[in-house]
Amino acid sequence: MDVWGAAAAQALAVLLLAPLVQGLIQRIKAALQGRRGPRIFQPYFTLAKLWRRQDIRPLPASWVFVVVPRLALGIVLAACLSVPLLWSPAPLGWGGDFIMVVGLLALERFVISLAGLDTGTPFGGLGSSRESIVGALVEPALFALALPWIVLAGSTAWPALLAASAAATPASVVRFFGLGAALIVSLAETGRLPVDNPDTHLELTMIHEAMVLEYSGPQLALLSLAQMAKQLLVLALVADLLVPWGIGGLALPTGLAPLVVLTKWVALALGLGVAESLSAKLRFFRLPGYLGAAAALSSAAAVLQVWGVR
């Protein structure tokens, strides 16, 4: 029962913290653009507002359209349970590893893409098609990100990956390459510039927003929450792989560990906000090169790791 209790606690923590991270990134972007911007807690208010709005469904949609937001949130939260977020090992770490997280993220993308096509409108299909190709290209890049540490640890299990990364030289070429790749991959996975633009409903550029265009009310709230949780998950994943120090049980007093973890998230969110503000939207067909660069950087890091250049 202990495991499931910890799982519930971690899921709750993600649900509560995810909008805060979103608000933080929005705030950073606003500051860089010279605006005052919304307060940091704005995403909570937005979700609460959506929660009270009417749920309108498009006529052709089937039950798939109705269940997808709930399923997507469940899948993302389940994925969060296999990653060491605040402490290691993760609640469901006994049954899932890095590959499980990649698989669950792919599953979430799969079901949301289905919902996009289920609306029977051109917009939904457009979003699904674009999201699918971004997903197909991100998946190898995400794998490549973990490759250097997987090779070092000889395993894909999170505790082994954390230990391997923590024991390696802190400031190494491998880690710097990894950070570069991680930036690209997390911008793509969280649907931010230069891959997607979360702040617009311009049909020429949108990907994720096009897929979920027909959602409204509580369903949209659940989907937004799922997207924010996914953002937090990606940040945690990058933190675990590249800056693992401080996660519970690794030579820090237990009280201090969550603080260190939160600091890392804030730092990474800062990086994400700055990177997004500095980039312009890429033309859609330039994306393969952009994501390929991430995969190439990480693969180079993995090759260096194999050859013992640290």
């Binding site: 899948i75 006994w94 669950l104 799969f110 098609s129 090779v151 067909f285």
Partner: protein
């Protein structure tokens, strides 16, 4: 045990006879079911330890037909019988709409096809193997030719026949080399003697085997027949061919590559790994461009055989490098994916057949909205689509996870060079997974969801229970083997260890019911826990929405906003449009071609007709098979001079050949 064997063969035979003679197919289906059950029981009994060894004398001592049942064969017999039974039930209902002679042909040939596949994996010597192999090829050819009055079917069948016999020639050559070197036709004798042969000879045999079985398993570049032949067969036969017959070739590859030839040089494994990599990526890329559902599924068979072959390649490397644990896990991954592919691919083909049967055709752009009209068929296809995309918690994820694990282990243990190969494998597998998911979003989203795109699709109705229940059973197995991987991972690991004779390397407790645990680095997988967690959290979310319903106006269903226009049947995103970004991004491989012809009156602005044609360059047909074919034809033209029509000259040829043979062979 021999009685069970005879009952099985007899039941299949009776099923064929009844199918050919009686106007009602039900009795024939029942007999085919009985045959499948008998063979399934035979395999089940053998897994408990009983041995089967039957020898039917055909002449003086070396000429006998021997059958055996080692664990590897038992696994494949189980697979053939299980999937065969479900496909037979489906087939009995499916053939109802066929015209009379065709209906009988299909009903009579399907049990024979099943029996011949079963006998291939039971065969213990050269003669039995080749006879059963040829029977399998010919019955499947005849089934492919069911619609033989259509010219494209004839062409597809011809290409299949040529490719399969070219492969059979390679197999025959390899087997005769083995017979010559060991002085026996018996597989068991080969297995004992082959590892001592010269490495050059063994490599030659290995290459011939790879060509022979590779052409049957449709490895790139020997895959060209598959996307032509599989779709034109009746759907349950397509399912059997893709789901099971390709696996018989995988069986052959494992049998000869591992059991008979034993550890080989490193390049065997690298070659097989490379072929697997190429097949998986190219298979899924070409599948994305197909909008004919059955052709698309056929290309996915190339992809999945590629994934299986990657596992085999790593296993060969592990066997070479004396890393028995790595070899066992890699072979386990290949076998797991073999079972999985048989389940989800057959389910998908059965679903595609049902949709066609219901009148919605085979073109994805002509379907749409089928989830509402054919709920059971659509649900089975949705589950199978998620499984084939390698998504948790379905079975495809478990076998891909195992393949990843074997590649990771190879990278960690094999040294820098092998690590690079393993990286390539990991990235290719990840790309394949992503592309397969994209492709099955297309299949499910365009074909099953949204609105009906044509009147035909709008008029489709659910097929009979005999057709959707087998697909649902297969889909259920896909989910079951994903959530509870331990159920079959342990027996499969035992089979893999038996094949590699590495039982000692395998630790006792590899799995529990819900968990696959590999004996390194704490690598463990229990997708069931995540399925439960995700469903529980989704349930909570659903409850929260329900609980908060008073705080907001009641839900409403409205026509989606259409920018002031009207959303017609054709304004949904089509399969072609969906795949367009892929065509552009992977243009280097596809080499897309398009031609737009515009007819206009008075001024180019006033168009009267626009004709658009787009497609993908068939690289292998044009650049590989085209030149080969042209060369063969040129050679034949040259050789025509030999045929003078003069009897005396022919007698001279006979004399010359005799002299040559006497000089060189004797």
């Amino acid at each position: 045990m021999i009685w069970v064997l005879l009952v099985g063969v007899g039941a299949y035979g009776l099923a064929a006879l009844l199918g050919a003679c009686r106007p009602h197919g039900r009795l024939s289906t029942l007999c085919a079911l009985a045959g499948a059950v008998a063979f399934g029981a035979l395999a089940g009994v053998s897994l408990t330890g009983a041995r089967l060894d039957v020898s039917l004398p055909l002449g003086p001592p070396p000429f006998a037909l021997r059958l055996w049942l080692p664990p590897l064969s038992a696994l494949f017999v189980l697979l053939i019988s299980g999937v065969g039974a479900l496909a037979s039930v489906y087939g009995g209902a499916y053939v109802a709409h066929f015209a009379e002679p065709k209906r009988r042909t299909v009903l009579a040939l399907t049990p024979l096809f099943l029996a011949s596949m079963t006998l291939v994996v039971l065969a213990a010597d050269l003669a039995a193997f080749l006879i059963a192999w040829e029977a399998m090829s010919l019955t499947s050819y005849a089934l492919v030719m069911t619609d033989g009055e259509r010219p494209e079917v004839v062409r597809a069948g011809y290409i299949y026949l040529v490719m399969t016999h070219a492969g059979a020639v390679c197999l025959l050559a390899a087997f005769l080399l083995l017979t010559n070197a060991t002085g026996s036709m018996d597989f068991a004798v080969w297995a004992g003697a082959a590892p001592t042969l010269a490495v050059g000879l063994r490599s030659g045999i290995f290459l011939l085997i790879l060509l022979g079985f590779g052409s049957k398993a449709a490895l790139v570049p020997l895959h060209v027949w598959l996307p032509r032949a599989h779709p034109v067969a009746p759907s349950h036969v397509s399912g059997l061919m893709s789901g099971v017959m390709l696996k018989v070739a995988i069986y052959g590859l494992i049998l000869v590559g591992f059991t008979v030839l034993g550890p080989g040089p490193l390049w065997w494994g690298l070659l097989v790994l490379g072929l697997g990599l190429l097949s998986s990526v190219l298979g899924v890329l070409y599948a994305l461009m197909e909008h004919d559902l059955k052709r698309l599924l056929a290309y996915h068979s190339v992809e999945n055989v590629g994934i299986i072959t990657m596992g085999l390649g790593v296993a060969l490397i592990g066997q070479h490098a004396d890393l028995p644990l790595l070899a066992v896990v890699a072979l386990l991954a290949a076998l797991y994916h073999t079972v999985n592919h048989a389940l989800f691919k057959t389910a998908l083909f059965l679903g595609a057949g049902a949709i066609d049967h219901a009148g919605a055709g085979r073109n994805l752009d002509g379907m749409g909205g089928l989830l509402a009209r054919m709920p059971w068929t659509a649900i089975s296809m949705l589950v199978a689509a998620a499984s084939i995309s390698g998504l948790p918690p379905f079975n495809g994820f478990v076998s891909e996870w195992l393949t990843y694990q074997s590649l990771v282990r190879l990278a960690a243990q094999g040294g820098p060079l092998l690590a690079l190969c393993a990286f390539a494998g990991v990235l290719a597998l990840a790309l394949t997974g992503g592309l397969a998911a994209a492709c099955f979003v297309k299949v499910s989203g365009v074909g099953l969801l949204g609105r009906a795109r044509t009147q035909r699709a709008a008029g489709a109705a659910e097929v009979s229970a005999a057709m959707y229940v087998p697909a649902l059973v297969l889909a259920g197995l896909c989910l079951g083997l994903g959530v509870l991987p331990g159920l079959i991972a342990a027996p499969l690991a035992a089979v893999a260890a038996a094949v590699l004779q590495a039982q000692a390397a395998l630790p006792g407790a590899l799995t529990t019911t819900v968990l696959v645990a590999l004996p390194w680095g704490g690598a463990r997988l229990g997708p069931g826990a995540f399925a439960v967690a995700a469903l529980a959290l989704s349930g909570i979310a659903t409850f929260a929405v329900f609980a908060g319903r008073r705080a907001r106006p009641a839900p409403e269903v409205r026509a989606p906003w259409a920018c002031g226009g009207e959303i017609g049947l054709q304004s949904q995103y089509s399969a072609t449009a969906y795949a367009k970004p892929f065509r552009q991004v992977f243009g280097l491989i596809y080499r897309p071609v398009r031609s737009v012809q515009v007819e206009s009156a008075v001024h180019p602005f006033f168009r009267t007709r626009v004709e658009y044609e787009g497609g993908v360059t068939p690289i292998f047909d044009r650049y590989v098979y085209g030149p080969v074919l042209a060369g063969l034809l040129a050679l034949a033209r040259r050789g025509r001079h030999l045929q003078s029509g003069s009897l005396r000259l022919y007698l001279g040829y006979v004399l010359g050949t005799l002299v040559l043979l006497l000089t060189f062979v004797h």
